[in-house]
Assembly symmetry: C2
Homo-oligomer: 721 residues x 2
């Protein structure tokens, strides 16, 4: 019925080889070079064309930062290979609060990753197909819906369809940069379409100039987003996990630097002039009607020729990689959720393996939040980027600080590899310092441009997570075992709820008899006199020796009369354990659930509030339920990043023979033995004479209702004709 | 814990007195006079001003029809006082298919009642406050959302807040008509603001003229919508139910005729010219910018003075009554749903009393459908009315035809009251004939104007209902008792799933022991070695004699390893009944459900697919669950119309003493007796030596895991230190 357990070699085979790990974990980080140089140059241009001379230096600062952060993460991976990333590091070394700050920063960041990546992706699509310009928001929201739907359905991130676009993106951008540089070397450098447009030079004070440079740097720092993904995904790598993860990190950093530096250089060479407000570009008449093309599109057009095949390849690859980056948020989110759930900061259900339903709600929330951002900001990349990277740098800074603490503790406890630890310590300390400075710069330069929103939502998430944790702690205390609490009771009674004379009810009855409770009775809640009379007649006809109690329900309700009856019993018999047997239909189609079990569910919920009641659900598998066995399992979001393949239930269809056996139950021999047991059971206790007498009375023309109501014998014994 | 049962006098007191029944059941029918005369005159004006001379005759035809339909329903109420209305009559007399046609017509009609009433209500609000004109659709959708929200939350329809507006509406419209007639009598008749506007006279052929008159008649017939409501609500009336319902029907008919005739007359006197396209009115310059005021607003303005207090009273009362009419659909819908469910044409859950959740989905669906209509048709009353009344007349015609069949059957079977039956027969036969003719007229005149949509949705609903019925029939057959099927099995084993050493698990364990299964074991699925070791240590420390089995779960899943274990057991022990005890948290806040029971639910669902497994849910009431007892019950939608007050669970707060008693369980005496029983149980079966030995081994320094795994003794016996 369930698949064989995976032998460990097979498990290893399901882990990610490096050539798949790179595109999966790097798409987020690499895709950010699609917007980082553009936003960097755009801010510089606010000061005028002369400010472009600062561009190489600002870009260099970004690259230094990128190198530092990558080096820092290479230390982190070594020390914490479990995949918790910055959250785990901050939580373990700096305490709960720091961990939750990182967690809330990351949660906000997932939403922004989706919004920014999709907005940039749409920008690049519109740059290739300008007639789509008026549908910018609609296309962006459409992509979010598609990505969410794909993830809700379940898709393997480790498939080639996810890996190839990233390689094409790397290859085509690299080719473009090299082409541009060769053309420059050969003396006919590429000329961007916006090269001729002028920009009004602003007359800035020295302080304003510095602020503008810092803003440009902040925007360029968006190139760093997504670098942390590898650190969260170490368990998904093949052994040697740490070495492979570190190597992938290094490779990713190298590629990112080459692409970022290359794009910035060729943009400067070809004279791309990109403005926040297109109509600030002097000499461009169609600024109000035509969309401003993305930096990548302008470079591709200048190097490969406008609307050439390679131009479209670059644009398509860029758009797809950006959408893949948005997709990573849908995978990273459940991963973080499960880590938080393990530490009791999020609903524990988020750590329940294989429960698709649990992830669905989170993904719908993520998609909704991103959609709201895209609609509110009209899918405007420049505005959305203002909110981004605050969270990234909060998590960088606290993560690196946690690492510093970690190394110091190691040193204090006297480690064997002092040299290596000191090296790691200095790298992380430098990283922590640098990212802290950047965090302050980013906050100052972006706060009034929209980033204040991040400082509203992060505390809300922080408080929620802390509240969940305190709630779980209180419950834990409430259910703690103490020496005075005892359960159990003086009596054990079984009630089998019978609606009509049908197999599910009889199965429940037989199961109840098999459990040999002290006493047993069948209970029927009467909402229709005719149906009740029919049941009583059948009860006698079938010669069932378990007494059938009828409860009147004048208001056609089931739960309330039943609870009244139980309460009454309790007054008479004291604190006994009452097990109520409810048949439950198991179905194969989703829509069948709408047609079954609602009443049973409601009765169950009402009964669960009663003293000493246990509800025993006896499943009845309808024919359609066999469909469940044939159902293919679908991958869960974040599964590939977690590095632990889920073994789904029911991979292979059930053999028809055994399915049949479940339905008609036991063989003749088994039936005989069961009957014998039942009889022995009867003999050992009181006799079933009373029940038989009343049954006889009913048969000989007495009122069946009264007869059945008299059947209060304590003796269960049911035999088929 | 639950309220006392209602004595029957008290039940009678909760039924509707006539002065409340009239407004509740009549608001739908009476509100339709707010739009019927307007739509009637509007269609006539398509032919030119001269066509207004036909108006009295067309109105008279509508009134004749109204009288006929009311008379017909007075017969129906007499014969079918159970509240099933046209559906029940058609189903019983004309068969399943006819019943389902009526049902699907009514379902479509509920959606249109909401859409048309809200559109007309908004029209009258805008007539009083023209500056709201540009928000027409937004206001309409807003009202649908408010009405749905109020009903989802639960509100008593029989409250005075629902009755007073209807009376104010009747009174103010009546006053307006009388004022208008007196002014005419005194020689200075009211003059509507649109009286001076001309209309282009169309040159029509004789056939086209007749078609136009028929169309005007069709539109006027919208005055008949809602008349059937009383017939569906007979059980809600006080005794003598039938007499009271018939009298209310008569009163409603009388009022409707007076208002309809009066409004039409005063509209003609004051010269209201209302056009489908406002700019067809010659002489009105602002036709494109200003909203065309409703017929009622124009008359109120002409008789009481524009923007006078009484003008606003009329507009407000009209708007509120129209919104109340929309509200009736939200109450009538669950009523029809429960009737259909009783006959197995709709999910049976719709017939589950007191289950709010069941109604919620239906109401959300209803609100969504109405919203879509309002948005698509931009809340345009004239266009929405094209779709309306087809359903009404389908149900009228089939209902009356069913009544004819009913009377004929009575006559054939030889009734005592031949005279009365023959009178009823002739009334219903005339009604059936007339409504059939009108149905044909309405279909012909409205089909191409949008009514074709009704002919698409009705068959869809019809098919769905038939499909549900066939599905239930198949299941019924599947679970039918037959002489060969037996259940039960040769063995009875209990498994208590233990996560941590906490009270809920121990309670489940004690309950399992109380049930005295053949054998019992505690099972722990290990996903964390440390936690498992801790549990094993505590198990021995607490001296629990039930063996604890550890199941390894390399993939951190719970269900799959457990199922594997059960399957393995089954291979060893044959077909036994296995009861798996799962603790379940009962909570008081809705959000707590997000934090609990997800894993238990998933395990339950997976276990229910296994052979011979019963899942026993042992409730653990968290402190917050006491909130449930204090919770006030809220009325269910359609409750007042059904005439059966629901007796909700838990009206009064639980006494603290008994709540405490539930938690800490039994007295010392009870505990002793339970221990004695347990001991006796042990003595009667095999000895617990094996378990004790392994426990000792573990205590004396052996590996606890191995020791616990060895504890496979069949003997359950748990005792607290």
């Amino acid at each position: 019925m369930i698949g064989d357990p995976l032998p460990s070699e097979k498990l290893e085979g399901q882990l990610l080889p490096k050539h798949l790990a790179l595109p999966i974990f790097a798409s987020d980080a690499l895709s950010s070079v699609a917007y980082a140089p553009q936003e960097l140059l755009m801010i510089l241009l606010l000061g005028g064309l002369a400010f472009l001379s600062f561009a190489p230096w600002v870009a260099l600062a970004v690259i230094v930062l990128l190198v530092t952060v990558v080096a820092s993460y290479r230390q982190l991976v070594k020390a914490y290979p479990s995949g918790g990333g910055d959250y785990e590091v901050a939580h373990k070394n700096l305490g709960e609060k720091a961990g939750l700050v990182v967690a809330s920063a990351l949660l906000v960041d997932y939403v922004l990753t989706v919004a920014v990546s999709v907005a940039s992706g749409v920008d690049n699509i519109i740059s290739a197909l300008p007639f789509l310009s008026e549908f910018r928001v609609e296309i962006a929201v459409g992509f979010v819906i598609i990505i969410a739907a794909v993830n809700l359905r379940g898709v393997r991130e480790s498939s080639k369809a996810f890996a190839i676009p990233t390689y094409i993106f790397i290859g085509s951008i690299f080719l473009m940069v090299v082409t541009g540089l060769i053309q420059t070397f050969l003396g006919h450098p590429p000329v961007a379409e916006s090269a001729a447009y002028g920009v009004q030079a602003a007359s800035l004070t020295q302080a304003a100039t510095i602020l503008l440079l810092l803003r440009a740097f902040s925007s360029g720092c968006s190139a760093l987003t997504g670098v942390e993904a590898v650190a969260n995904g170490v368990p998904a790598f093949r052994t040697p996990k740490i070495k492979n993860a570190r190597r992938t990190l290094g490779m990713m950093g190298g590629i990112a630097i080459v692409l970022f530096a290359g794009l910035t250089a060729v943009a400067l060479i070809s004279g791309v002039h990109y403005a926040e407000n297109p109509c600030d570009l002097q000499g461009w008449a169609q600024c109000a009607t035509e969309p401003q093309r993305s930096l990548i599109a302008q470079i591709a057009s200048a190097t490969f020729g406008n609307n050439s095949l390679l131009f479209f390849v670059v644009q398509a690859a860029t758009a797809v990689v950006l959408l893949l980056a948005a997709n990573t948020a849908f995978n990273g989110f459940p991963l973080l959720g499960s880590v938080l759930a393990k530490d009791s900061y999020a609903p524990k259900s988020l750590n329940t393996r294989g429960d698709r339903l649990v992830y669905s709600n989170g993904m719908i929330l993520l998609a909704l939040a991103a959609t709201v951002l895209l609609v509110v900001y009209q899918a405007n990349l420049t505005q959305l980027i203002q909110l981004y990277i605050i969270g990234v740098f909060v998590s960088f800074t606290l993560g690196q600080t946690g690492m510093v603490k970690h190394w110091i503790t190691l040193l204090r406890n006297g480690t064997t590899e002092r040299g290596s630890v000191i090296r790691s310590l200095s790298i992380n300390a430098f990283g922590a310092l640098l990212t802290l400075v950047v965090l302050i710069v980013v906050t100052i330069t972006k706060f009034t441009h929209g980033a204040y929103l991040v400082f509203i939502f992060m505390p809300i998430l922080f408080t929620l997570m802390l509240g969940v944790n305190r709630y779980y702690r209180d419950v834990e205390k409430e259910v703690e075992v103490d020496p005075v609490t005892t359960f159990g009771s003086n009596g054990d009674h079984a009630i089998v709820l019978i609606g009509k004379m049908q197999k599910p009810g009889l199965k429940a009855l037989d199961y109840a008899i098999a459990a040999r409770h002290d006493s047993i009775e069948a209970v029927h809640v009467s909402i229709d006199d005719d149906a009740t009379a029919k049941l009583q007649h059948q009860w006698i006809e079938q010669n069932i020796h378990v007494p059938l109690t009828i409860i009147e329900s004048p208001y056609r309700d089931f739960g309330v009369p039943l609870i009244k009856y139980l309460k009454h019993r309790r007054e008479e018999h004291g604190s006994e354990v009452v097990t109520v047997y409810l048949p439950q239909y198991i179905v194969g189609h989703w829509w069948e659930n709408m047609l079954h079990n609602h009443r049973a569910r409601r009765i169950r919920q009402q009964l669960m509030l009663c003293h000493g009641v246990t509800v025993a659900l006896v499943p009845w598998l309808l024919d359609s339920s066999s469909l469940i066995y044939g159902r293919r399992s679908r991958p869960l979001p974040g599964q590939d990043r977690r590095g632990e393949p889920v073994r789904p239930i029911a991979r292979r269809p059930l053999e028809p023979a055994s399915a049949g056996a479940r339905r008609t139950g036991m063989t003749a021999a088994a039936a005989e033995s069961a009957a014998a047991k039942s009889a022995a059971n009867a003999a050992a206790k009181t006799s079933a004479a009373a029940a038989k007498k009343s049954a006889a009375a009913a048969k000989s023309g007495g009122t069946p209702t009264a007869a059945a109501k008299q059947q209060k014998s304590k003796q269960p014994a049911r035999a088929k004709r």
